[in-house]
Symmetry: C2
Subunit: 113 residues, 2 copies
């Protein structure tokens, strides 16, 4: 039984991969970024419950995973834009698959914890 049953052989790098997109704010930030470059303050206004620190952490993680790129824009009130990278763009189908689910809960449902 121990030697006979070959058992299922599947590696599990999904853990690592999913980590890139999970956490309290990363999924949201990622999705915003798929719609075009986003700015720090903009994200902050979209996610009023998030603290600056929380957003900074999330953005830095996405950045170091090479999913988003941080660009300082040398304009009037000097701001920062976050863009999806090529790699980031490759992640979009994952989110599309998530959104294709029937049972996608509403924000309210998700909050009822």
């Amino acid at each position: 039984m121990t030697t006979k049953n070959p058992e299922i052989i599947v590696e599990c790098p999904k853990e690592y991969l999913l980590k890139l997109l999970t956490g309290k704010w990363k999924p949201c930030i990622f999705r915003y970024a798929t719609q075009g470059p986003v700015r720090f303050g903009q994200i902050s206004r979209l996610l009023p419950e998030a603290t600056k620190q929380g957003l900074t952490n999330a953005l830095r993680e996405l950045e170091s995973a090479n999913i988003v790129e941080r660009r300082v824009i040398q304009e009037k009130p000097l701001h920062v834009e976050y863009h999806l990278t090529e790699l980031g763009i490759e992640f979009i189908p994952i989110f599309n698959a998530i959104e294709a689910l029937h049972m996608l809960p509403t924000r309210k449902q998700a909050d009822q914890k």
Copy 2:
């Protein structure tokens, strides 16, 4: 500016959803389960680094999210099988999208943390 700029409107129930499939062991367990019913000890052997408690937690979470179903099999050495539910099956495309990524890291890479 506050009233003018419509900003991007996207809800973010993805956080909730991704949570169902994340954590240290849930992604792996889920993927094993997509290949057919899995038993507790089998998972434990596939993921030798995981503790019983860790696996139990993960399984209970998947169960209470209605992603897997726990079935006690009344046979010789009385065991337990975990099956994907209908809802669980709906999650498969998400994993397929993940696995379709070019940069899927190997276990080794993922472990180099």
